[in-house]
Amino acid sequence: MQNDIVLSMRRISKAFPGVRALQNVDFTLKKGEIHALMGENGAGKSTLIKVLTGVYPKDSGQIHIAGINKEINIRSPQEAQNLGISTVYQEITLCPNLTVAENMFIGRGSYRLVNWRSMEKKTADILAKLNIPARATQQLSTCSLAVQQMVAIARSVDMECKVLILDEPTSSLDEHEVAKLFSLMRELKSRGVGIIFITHFLEQAYEICDRITVLRNGELVGEYEIKDLPRVQLISKMMGKELDDISALESRKTFQAKEDAIPVFEAYGLSSAAGTKPFDFKIYKGEVNGFTGLLGSGRSESVRAIFGADKVTGGRVKVNGKNVKIKRPRDAMKHGIGYLPEDRKQDGIIEDLSVRENIILALQVMKGFFRPFSRAEAEAFADKYIKLLGIKTASTDTPIKSLSGGNQQKAILARWLLINPQYLILDEPTRGIDVGTKVEIQKLVLKLAEEGVSVTFISSEIEEMLRTCSRLIVMRDRNIVGELKGEDMTQAKIMHTIAGEAAQNG
């Protein structure tokens, strides 16, 4: 083992029932470096970290750590901590109702005697050393999120960690706070701590990291010096598409709105409390457009703002050329907008209710509280859409939670088709469902568009979007950074646009 390597993981594999989460992944961390671990959803980043911190046992592979000459086997997070591997998670796992000093010391050492005075003094020393703007006796909840994050890091550092894992620490911080956190990371780096930095913000990785390891589908794509890896390359590696791989796609119909056509939906300077920057958007009758960008780029937040799913904080909205107010989902529904949410479990299905109730819910809400559908009417609606979409269910009375993911998704789709929308937003309708259903849903989207419904279609799988959309809005770091149409819609162009470089033919 070289002297400057603090951690090396070799040929790590881990399988869950039905999924090979990690396959022969190598990872090396040097002393005093900040190493980005990147990959799209399901790439295996968190599984690798969980293996390293002893949350999951590995199936095979070796882990070596500096200072210990033999292979180590980490069985619990406690053991990882004793070996000098500390993790700070995205959500702060400290106790907000305790003081900073108490948070630094709880769960460590003997509980029998506590010398508060010395504990506070020690804490003050650490805080001063690391330039953390907090007092030892201050209650943690009175600190800003960034400072809380820093206290969590300080706690790890004080436990003499060699390896510090930061799992998306910046996702809930603003720019100013991120800058503070970065200066602390640089400070630690100069002290020789090896930092693994997980983030989906490209800019941040380029700002602070020395090297990058990219994972995809549980496999190692490669390890790169950051200065040798242009952004476009990184994106293509994360997505698994070669830049020159302009696959032969079936010819799409290009959408051309009539000269004098009025958009079905227009937004100007729309923003929401979920953190979208103000954006403009319009969609015409019968058009299919898409929002694309990496995870966390703000594509879901944007469409949620259109539907009024999060608190709308600004902007003007027009439907069919008329000014309207969309403050709540109900308002959007009244204007014929339907929204299939990204997270089916959290926001889509109502688990314990029957398939029938789940299908009629949106239409029922629009019809009104005092005008429930009769059992026969509801049954007829449900039967019609169960047949139309081929939903596999024992009966309309079956609780929706006992259906498979794909069938649940079809039922939610049925719910929105039932309101006969003029504009339908589908956020990741194909996630986590089988290939057959994916194709069915894409076909359905195209059919709806032919019938004159406007559709916004979002998918993590670029091919799906290229196949269905006639216009793509590209987002990065919660901003719209480009719009691609017709000939320009290629994977290469998308990647270049995400990377923020001047568009050039790939």
């Binding site: 539907f307 799913a309 709540r328 989902p329 109900r330 529904m333 929204y339 949410p341 959290q346 926001d347 889509g348 299905i349 109502i350 688990e351 314990d352 209710l353 109730e357 819910l361 949106a362 029922q364 809400v365 629009m366 009104g368 509280f369 005092f370 429930p372 024992a394 009966s395 009375d397 719910r415």
Partner: protein, 365 residues
């Protein structure tokens, strides 16, 4: 019939109905004449029905009504209102103070008194609901405020006294209307029950409440006003509280703010639980809760009949209730299912395929 039985065997009403059945059988074995109905002439000279069934149904009136409201609150807010007893004391006090203020008690006066107590109870319900729905305080903590303050507020309403309302009209409501042999509270429960089922039938109260309780985020994205639905359930419980408080005042003929429907909140929550409803909200069955209320009262009457000292009744009740709640817990259910699978492995499979067939068959009919 067999199909219906099968479907019933999977519904949440199995255990409460079974428990009620066991209680009845137990009483019949203990004393064959337990459920005898007799026609007697009471001290007012009316011909009325009498017997343990009547006293169970009559005694559980307030509880049954409160259990209905409590079920709705549980379903929508995923928590319970522990202030119903105290709120009933307030509603009862308002009722009494209107009656006493009117000079002569007539039917319109009673109606006004009832409406006034309803209004006040709904306002207090809305107060609880606001804390829960808008300020997102846990229901039990939110209602703890009224739970502790309620009886003091009731004390102020009648200036600290425990006034009586001696009047034949009030007695009609509390016991019997001349010519009708069934106690009036039972009739009120039946009427209220019909009203509630009409509301459930002709509005989306059930669908919305359950949606909010099961998945609030999803309900909101489907255009349901989740805050309003929670508020509404607390306000409906307010109406239930007013009815229960007024019935109790009429039964006793006076208002004692300290003892009126004391501890009834716990029984109401229990009724919801015994009825097979999840206390963490979501799907609900009002029938289950009402059956739960009658089980609790039947238990009390049984224990009285067995001459259990009144101070010990609560302990005995607790034992039976623990048994019911434990039997209906998922752990026991799962164990029972596994036991059944092991004992009747082969017939079970046949039965299942038959069941699935029967569902489709039933639909096509």
């Amino acid at each position: 019939m067999a199909k219906r039985l099968k479907r019933f065997s999977r519904s949440q009403l199995v255990i409460p109905v079974f428990a009620l059945f066991l209680l009845i059988v137990f009483n019949l074995i203990r004393d064959a004449g337990f459920f005898e109905l007799t026609i007697i002439t009471n001290n007012l000279g009316d011909t009325v029905l009498s017997g343990n069934i009547v006293s169970i149904l009559n005694g559980a009136s307030e509880l049954a009504i409160l259990a209905i409201g409590m079920t709705l609150v549980t379903a929508s807010s995923r928590g319970q209102d522990i202030s119903v007893g105290a709120a009933a004391a307030i509603a009862g006090s308002i009722f009494v103070s209107v009656l006493r203020g009117a000079g002569q008690i007539t039917v319109p006066v009673i109606l006004i008194g009832f409406l006034a107590s309803c209004a006040v109870a709904v306002v207090f319900g809305a107060f609880n609901g606001t804390l829960v729905a808008i300020f997102k305080i846990q229901p039990m903590i939110a209602t703890l405020i009224l739970f502790s303050a309620g009886r003091s507020i009731a004390y102020w309403i009648n200036g600290g006294a425990t006034p009586t309302v001696e009047n034949s009209l009030v007695k009609f409501i509390g016991s019997f209307i001349p010519g009708i042999p069934i106690p009036t509270p039972i009739i009120i429960v039946i009427v209220f029950g019909i009203l509630v089922s009409l509301v459930l039938r002709f509005t989306n109260l059930g669908l919305y409440t359950q949606s909010v309780g099961i998945n609030e985020g999803s309900a909101r994205l489907n255009g349901i006003n989740t805050v309003w639905m929670k508020l509404l359930s607390f306000m409906i419980l307010g109406i239930c509280v007013a009815i229960a408080g007024c019935i109790n005042v009429c039964k006793i003929g006076l208002i004692n703010h300290e003892t009126l429907l004391l501890d009834i909140e716990m029984d109401a929550i229990l009724a919801v639980a015994i009825g097979g409803n999840s206390l963490s909200g979501g799907k609900f069955s009002l029938t289950g809760s009402v059956i739960g209320a009658y089980i609790i009262q039947a238990l009390t009457v049984t224990l009285w009949a067995m001459k259990v000292p009144s101070t010990a009744v609560k302990a005995y009740k607790a034992i039976v209730i623990i048994a019911i709640v434990a039997i209906s817990s998922p752990v026991v259910k799962e164990y029972a299912l596994r036991l059944r699978d092991r004992l009747f492995k082969k017939p079970e499979k046949l039965e299942q395929s038959f069941q699935e067939g029967s569902i489709d068959g039933g639909k096509s009919l």
